[in-house]
């Protein structure tokens, strides 16, 4: 059974890619992932804002109280050189690249246009095979308007596209007014992949202390559904490869994703729960499922349930929503 696929221009033996997670931050688990059949390694994101914050915080920590008191002109030693965020990340890219045979995709979240292109270039120099742009910018203010936000994002993507030769993937947010239209605009910049969707940290409220708490919950298969819908809508409408991330836990999730048109899926939460070896399990299950259901290849299945090919496209549309409500009756 041929379960190979093509994603971002790379021939992958399997469509099941380990997504960005703490597993890629540790060399031992990266090796385990490759051993388990990872066809590609997607690294965790480098966040420009966080790096800048770390630099400023480090400087603050070192400078605090300095040159204030005759007996203590400083409080901490000053090493010759600090390995700051980008250096660490770039070294990690190089290490992973040297340790594995499969393509390594770095991931970037910039803050400024200059930051996006600068870090992208550094990642390219560090030896990454591709770059996933992690568009993570929840706009909570009344301004700018949606058009400006989208234009600015496209501008960033275009700038990075021009700055580096690496194949680019763009990880999209589900929150666009007109997602298909926006995806087209992104596609037009020449990116090689669209990744649906980003999962955001969702702050929760502590009712006793009236403080916000950052939460990070692992995904469940439930989250797959909106991704199926929008992938189905985009299939064959954009040139870029489609990749689903978020909610892929079982072989069934993999099959559904490919059926709506995904070239590949990214799995993270399931691997965190079951360990890197789960990747091999999923791969075997996919193989068997396809055999059992007498598919010739993965390619045969890809897009079979996309919006343009599904027997009941309205199910992906509003009509279906209405129908469910109308047919529901109390037991």
């Amino acid at each position: 059974m041929d379960i190979s696929t093509k994603y971002l221009g790379f021939d992958l033996e399997s469509p099941i890619i380990p997504g960005a997670s703490p597993l890629t931050a540790d060399m031992d688990s990266v090796r385990q992932l490759e051993d388990a059949g990872a066809p590609m390694i997607i690294m965790h994101s480098i966040f420009q804002e966080q790096l800048e914050h770390e630099e400023v915080a480090l400087n603050y920590g070192l400078e605090q109280g300095e040159q204030s008191f005759a007996e203590a002109l400083s409080y901490l030693p000053l090493p010759d050189q600090f390995r700051l965020g980008p250096d660490e990340y770039l070294e990690h890219v190089a290490k992973i690249k040297a340790a594995v045979k499969v393509p390594v995709v770095a991931s970037l979240n910039g803050r400024t246009l200059g930051g996006w292109t600068e870090y992208a270039k550094k990642i390219e120099q560090a030896g990454a095979d591709a770059l996933e742009l992690n568009i993570y910018d929840p706009v909570l203010a009344a301004a700018p308007d949606s058009t400006s936000v989208e234009l600015a994002t496209v501008e960033v993507i275009r700038a990075v596209r021009e700055a580096v030769k690496l194949p680019l993937a763009v990880k999209l947010s589900p929150f666009y007014t007109s997602l298909v239209h926006f995806a087209h605009r992104v596609d037009a910049t020449g990116v090689r992949g669209l990744v649906l969707f980003n999962r955001f940290y969702q702050p929760d409220i502590d009712l006793e202390t009236l403080e916000l708490h950052r939460t990070l919950k692992l995904s469940t298969s439930e989250e797959l559904l909106p991704r199926l819908r929008w992938t189905a809508a985009l299939f064959n409408h954009v040139g870029a490869d489609l990749c689903i991330t978020g909610g892929v836990h079982s072989v069934y999730d993999v099959c559904k994703s490919v059926m709506v048109g995904a070239s590949a899926v990214q799995v993270a939460s399931a691997l965190l729960v079951h360990g890197p070896e789960h990747l091999g399990v999923l791969r075997k299950q996919l193989y068997r499922w396809l055999e059992t259901h007498e598919y010739e290849s993965l390619q045969q299945m890809r897009g079979s349930m996309s919006l343009i090919r599904t027997p009941n496209p309205s199910a992906f549309e509003r009509g279906n929503y209405m129908k469910i409500l109308q047919t529901w009756a109390p037991a």
Binding site: L58, Y60, G61, Q67, S68, A70, A72, Y75
Partner: protein, 1207 residues
């Protein structure tokens, strides 16, 4: 020959640069002002910088100077080239080993930044009292007078020591030279290799102790031989002066820089000659040049080789024309016939005369004077005064200069207008705050100018005595000629005031010369600045025709992401308007320097600084002035009507920075000072202060508990007390049932708050409609200062709650007790002072504190004002600092003394039992005095006793009266940091914990030497970066509590108020109640941990929740009850991750940035060790000791006995 490397460095770096390259081993211990030498050596070694033989010197920090010199001695015996750096008390701790090292004729050079030895007071500043204490050790002494010499003579000393076998003490003046930035030519490694001949090194190594050529040193000798053997070394000392001379000549041939052991400068036929050593020699030398240029026949002999004192060389330096000599000593030897150098000169002249070689024939008239103690200014005007004195018909035989002695009238009158500085030097004065980065920026400017231009540059920095909101004054000189002016600037051509609030009380432009440039950081628009400065300052600006520029640096800093750091902005202004360098060239140089300084800390930091430079130029403006003053604001004073006379006459003058003007008669003769003076200082350093919202407040008092400065206080009182309250005074009904019906107020001291934010962060009460609003919120100080000042004054006058009414003392209740420790100069957000404050709230009116040297002794005892204060009865903590190393012993001694007073009183009571009566006598003798009510009852008994014995005429009744107050139990506490308790004072502490006496020890554990700038101690945890452990300490923190528990006689507690304030209070109460030794180890967050201290309590909580800092109490009294004496009061199963705790603090986090692999190893070790420690405590907490031995008759178990040795 390679091009000379010219750099701008300070004296410490100059000496350390040579010492590091000429050593294989350096063993050190931090002490101001020498610490930087050891730190630099450590830094260089950690960067793999090599010595001239290609090895990286091994740098080891020890537990004390005594330990350091012991290891030095050992390393020398092993034939290595070894050094150390020290000063003051530290040098004195080395003396026993110095005798040994010299007695064994061991080649060795130690570098001393000479510092005052503590007498009536501690002083960190420079004089020669420490080195003079070493005269008898057998060490040769070589003194350097400036930064270049500190570098050169470090090398010369090594050459001489290796060649002569005599160990050398190389010294230069603490702060004045050690911390002065000046240009110096660096010796290359090749030059050093030429200076220190390999054959001498080989000979030194050949003398090593080795089993391959076994020898024995350190014998014990008896009356038959010791004396002769001691004389056997004489010829080695006799040879030293000639060797010094030759090596200095060889040095001159190599480098072109000429030195002689005794250097004469001045008129060839001088009749008046001053003899001096150290940095003062430069001032004398420059003044001599000036005076001889005006025809005066004066000269100076600079002493470089002080020991051995080469009489022949000294005499041959003296002009035959000399009629009168003044010898200047930077030390005081009370009771001596004269100070040491004076006596040496007298001896030399007498011996020369006896030998018939005195060039003057007759011994000239010789007078001796003291100058410059504790870095007291020594100026050309003072030098002139000395020469003038010599010219008088009958000069004072012994004198002082630089002070006004109106008691013994020893001081010389000085003409302050005398000035030798010429106008071709740019003299710039900068007034800044510690936190704003002014000094750092100025050091940067000096390096830019000194290193990148042909100009010579000098920088010296004066800090005030506070750690929070310290005022810094930078004195910078730039000129075409070398700058030899080791004294402060008196007339400045450029003055910058980096903090607008300084103008309120200080005449910042007082030192401006005519036409000088004045730069002001002002929050006002350029059109408004003029009328916001005091009228007196306007007048000076007009009269002196100053060019006046202003910028709102804080606004630019905020806009460019620089926070409160205005350093880059003000530095840019200086270069833009001072004219020292062309503007464009200067800006380019600043940016280059920024890249160099901040590049390693990340591009964002560089980017923000660049942005700040660019924005500065757009915002700097010249201010238009009026022809006459227009301001309605008047310059304030530090004097306040409510001040007691002494405070007004002395402390207020010191607060105003005019302490130099106080005469001898102003001072206590024995170093005894009044307490309770910080309340007069009103420093007004906070930008924002907390404002109370009574409607939101839940009256938990947590804000007051955590306040390091006692600047936010609650009070519970009768509503009737509100009569006459100011209009804005806030109060609400008290909520809890204990004092139902009373009124509650939470009040901020607006002029004493440092704005640290701890209180707001810890406040748990939030507005139900707007969660970001708390019960206290930071508000601009200037918006509410006047109102809150009136409120605070009214608040203070409301009577305190009767202590005896507090039946249950928990954290909340403690804050209703008057703090007797207030407004200290500790860092804003300090993690130590809340403990000290709590101590005074609980036991303040009967508290005696023995305080080890360190942060706590500095914020408690550094003048001009002190924070310990008194209650309405005039009672309060009595406080004393002895030394760093002996605090446990010192505190025990206090306890012993107090106990004997009480015992004596009790004996006398019995003698008057008839008059006193059984009931009172029994009460007085047997009261346990546990709890506030019991103490109050005992005080009442003492009052009654006094009444009863007043009519008795027997003199013993008077004696009993004088001792009666000792019948009220005193609470003796030994305070200090981890440097004291874990390291230098551990031996004494350990001993005291083993004894049965009722002393209480509070270790404020910051896990690092905070006061001297963050050196590692044995308390430093694994994984933390500290000086001497830059890559993260690789070994575990010592478990001091566990060691103390092993005595089973001591009460031991580990507390962290930020994690559990009630637990802290409970431990304090239990420790005090326990009548044996008690030890409380208190987690103290610290500026040296590298994070914003406003979240200090959050970090404490994380430390406890992660298990890194377990809370426990070990109470020996529980043994007899059959319970385990150890109670662990924090979670045995961690509720937080150790790594989360570590990553929040720069001291840990930076290790990850230096070496991620090491960080991983160390943090894993930290996690592992935390688990292991918790597991051990868990086991211990389950052990109930047997209460009988099983033998007959039953004997009390060890630890079960209640010792009764106490005050």
């Amino acid at each position: 020959m390679a091009e000379k490397q010219v750099v701008t460095i300070d004296g410490n770096e100059a000496a350390a640069s040579v010492a590091h390259r000429l050593s294989e081993v350096a063993v050190i211990y931090p002490i101001t002002p020498s610490s930087n030498m050891g730190e630099l050596a450590d830094e260089w070694s950690s960067h793999k910088k090599t010595n001239i033989w290609g090895g990286v010197p091994k740098i080891v920090e020890m537990q004390s100077e005594a330990g350091a010199i012991g290891s030095v001695h050992g390393a020398l015996q092993a034939g290595s080239l070894c050094t150390t750096f020290t000063a003051s008390q530290g040098l004195l701790l080395m003396i026993p080993n110095m005798f040994k090292i010299a007695g064994e004729l061991t080649s060795f050079v130690m570098h001393v930044a000479a510092r005052c030895v503590a007498t009536h007071a501690l002083s960190i500043f420079g004089d020669h009292s420490d080195i003079m204490a070493c005269r008898q050790t057998g060490f040769a002494m070589l003194g350097s007078i400036n930064v270049q010499e500190a570098h050169d003579q470090a090398a010369i000393a090594m050459a001489i020591s290796l060649r002569s076998r005599i160990p050398f003490l190389h010294f230069f003046d603490g702060f004045r030279t050690s911390h002065e930035l000046n240009r110096a030519v660096l010796l290359s490694d090749d030059e050093l290799r030429a200076i220190v001949k390999q054959e001498w090194v080989d000979a030194h190594r050949a003398r090593a102790l080795t089993p391959d050529r076994p020898l024995l040193r350190g014998t014990a000798q008896n009356p038959d031989t010791f004396f002769q053997a001691r004389e056997a070394c004489n010829s080695y000392y006799d040879r030293v002066p000639q060797i010094v001379k030759e090596e200095m000549e060889r040095f001159a041939a190599l480098t072109g820089r000429k030195y002689v052991p005794y250097e004469y400068q001045g008129h060839p036929n001088a009749d008046r000659v001053v003899i001096v050593m150290g940095s003062g020699a430069e001032t004398v030398s420059e003044t001599v040049k000036y005076l001889t240029g005006r025809g005066e026949k004066v000269g100076v002999i600079i002493i470089r080789l002080y020991r051995p004192f080469a009489i022949d060389m000294f005499i041959s330096a003296l002009p035959g024309s000399t009629k009168r000599i003044a010898v200047l000593d930077r030390t005081k030897e009370p009771g001596a016939g004269g100070e040491p150098l004076y006596q040496d000169v007298l001896t030399a002249l007498y011996q020369a005369q006896q030998a018939g070689v005195l060039p003057t024939g007759e011994i000239p008239a010789i007078i001796g004077g003291r100058y410059g103690l504790s870095s007291k200014e020594f100026t050309p005007a003072m030098v002139k005064a000395v020469y003038d004195e010599l010219a008088k018909p009958t000069p004072k035989t012994r004198f002082t200069v630089g002070i006004v002695d109106d008691v013994t009238h020893l001081s010389l009158a000085v003409d302050e207008s005398f000035d030798i500085e010429t106008d071709d030097t740019v003299r710039a004065l900068f007034f800044g705050l510690g936190a704003d980065g002014t000094v750092g920026a100025n050091k940067n400017s000096i390096k830019i100018i000194g290193d990148e231009t042909d100009l010579h540059a000098q920088g010296y920095f004066v800090y005030d005595s506070k750690k929070s909101g310290a005022m810094t004054t930078s004195h910078l000189r730039f000129g075409k000629e070398p700058i030899r002016a080791p004294y402060l600037i008196r007339k400045a051509s450029f003055i910058a005031c980096h903090q607008f609030q300084f103008l309120e009380k200080t005449d910042i432009v007082e030192s401006a010369s005519d036409g000088a440039v004045f730069l002001l950081n002002s929050p006002y628009a350029k059109e408004e600045v003029w009328n916001h400065i005091p009228r007196e300052i306007q007048q000076t600006i007009i009269t002196k025709k100053l060019k006046f520029y202003a910028i709102d640096a804080n606004a630019v800093a905020k806009k460019t992401g620089m926070g409160t750091r205005i350093n880059t902005i003000m530095q840019t202004c200086f270069f833009a308007i001072s004219g020292v360098l062309p503007r464009d060239e200067a800006i380019a140089a600043i940016k280059k320097a920024i890249k160099k300084t901040y590049g390693k800390r990340g591009e964002e930091v560089v980017r923000r600084n660049f942005e700040a430079v660019d924005q500065t130029l757009a915002h700097l403006a010249e201010i238009a002035m009026t022809p006459a003053p227009t301001s309605t604001i008047r310059l304030g004073t530090f004097e306040q009507p409510a001040m007691p006379d002494f405070v007004k006459r002395v402390s207020a003058v010191m607060m105003a920075g005019k302490g130099d003007n106080l005469p001898v008669s102003a001072f206590p003769v024995d170093g005894t000072w009044p307490t309770g003076t910080t309340k007069y200082e009103k420093r007004n350093i906070a930008i924002d202060i907390p404002q109370w919202e009574p409607g939101i407040c839940i009256q938990c008092n947590k804000c007051a508990f955590v306040c390091p400065h006692a600047a936010i206080r609650p009070k519970v009182y009768e509503a009737a007390q509100l009569e006459g309250s100011p209009a804005g005074f806030k109060s609400v009904p008290y909520k809890a049932p204990d004092f139902k019906g009373l009124t509650y107020t939470l009040q901020v001291a607006p002029e004493d708050c440092t704005g640290c934010n701890l209180c707001v962060v810890v406040c748990p009460a939030k507005d139900k409609s707007d969660a970001k609003r708390k019960a206290i919120n930071m508000t601009p100080r200037m918006d509410i200062r006047d109102r809150e000042r009136d409120n605070y004054e009214f608040f203070l006058n409301i009577p305190e709650l009767d202590r005896a009414r507090l039946t249950r003392i928990d954290a909340k209740a403690t804050q209703l007790l008057l703090p007797l420790f207030e407004y200290s100069g500790a860092c804003g957000g300090c993690g130590e002072t809340p403990y000290v404050k709590l101590l005074t709230q609980l036991f303040g009116d009967r508290l005696v504190v023995a305080n080890a040297t360190g942060c706590s002794s500095i914020y408690s005892g550094n003048l001009p004002t002190t924070p310990y204060t008194t209650d309405r009865n005039g009672r309060g903590p009595a406080w004393c600092n002895s030394l760093f190393e002996d605090n446990a012993e010192f505190g025990l001694g206090i306890l012993l003394g107090l106990t004997e007073h009480r015992n004596h009183a009790e004996r006398l009571l019995k003698q008057f039992s008839g008059q006193i009566g059984d009931t009172l006598l029994t009460g007085l003798v047997t009261s346990t005095q546990q709890g506030e009510a019991a103490v109050a009852e005992q005080r009442a008994r003492v009052v009654e006793l006094r009444k009863l014995i007043a009519p008795i005429t027997d003199p013993k009744a008077r004696l009993l009266e004088s001792l009666a107050d000792y019948l009220v139990r005193k609470s003796v506490w030994l305070l200090g940091g981890d440097g004291w308790a874990y390291d230098i004072g551990y031996g004494g502490l350990d001993h005291v914990m083993s004894l049965p006496y009722d002393v209480n020890v509070l270790v404020m554990d910051t896990e690092v030497y905070s006061n001297t700038g963050g050196q590692a101690s044995k308390s430093t945890p694994i994984g933390a970066s500290a000086k001497f452990a830059a890559n993260g300490k690789g070994t575990q923190k010592k478990d001091l509590g566990l060691i103390a528990m092993s005595y089973r006689n001591a009460y031991v507690a580990s507390v962290a108020f930020g994690a559990n304030d009630n637990h802290t209070v409970k431990a304090f109460l239990e420790a005090e109640a326990y009548r044996g030794p008690s030890l409380i180890i208190a987690y103290s967050h610290c500026i040296a941990h590298g994070y914003d201290l406003k979240i200090g309590t959050d970090q404490q909580k994380l430390a406890v929740d992660s298990g890194v800092w377990p809370l426990y109490r070990y109470d020996p009294r529980l043994v007899n009850t059959g319970k385990p004496p150890l109670q662990v009061d924090s979670p045995m199963t961690p509720k937080a991750a150790v790594r989360d705790y570590l990553r929040n603090e720069t001291r840990f986090a930076m290790v990850e940035k230096i070496d991620p692999v090491r960080f991983k190893e160390l943090s894993e070790a930290s996690v592992r060790n935390t688990a292991q420690r918790l597991s051990l405590y868990k086991e211990l907490a389950n052990i109930a000791y047997p209460t009988t031995t099983g033998e007959s008759p039953a004997a009390p178990a060890n630890g079960a006995a209640q010792p009764k040795e106490g005050a």
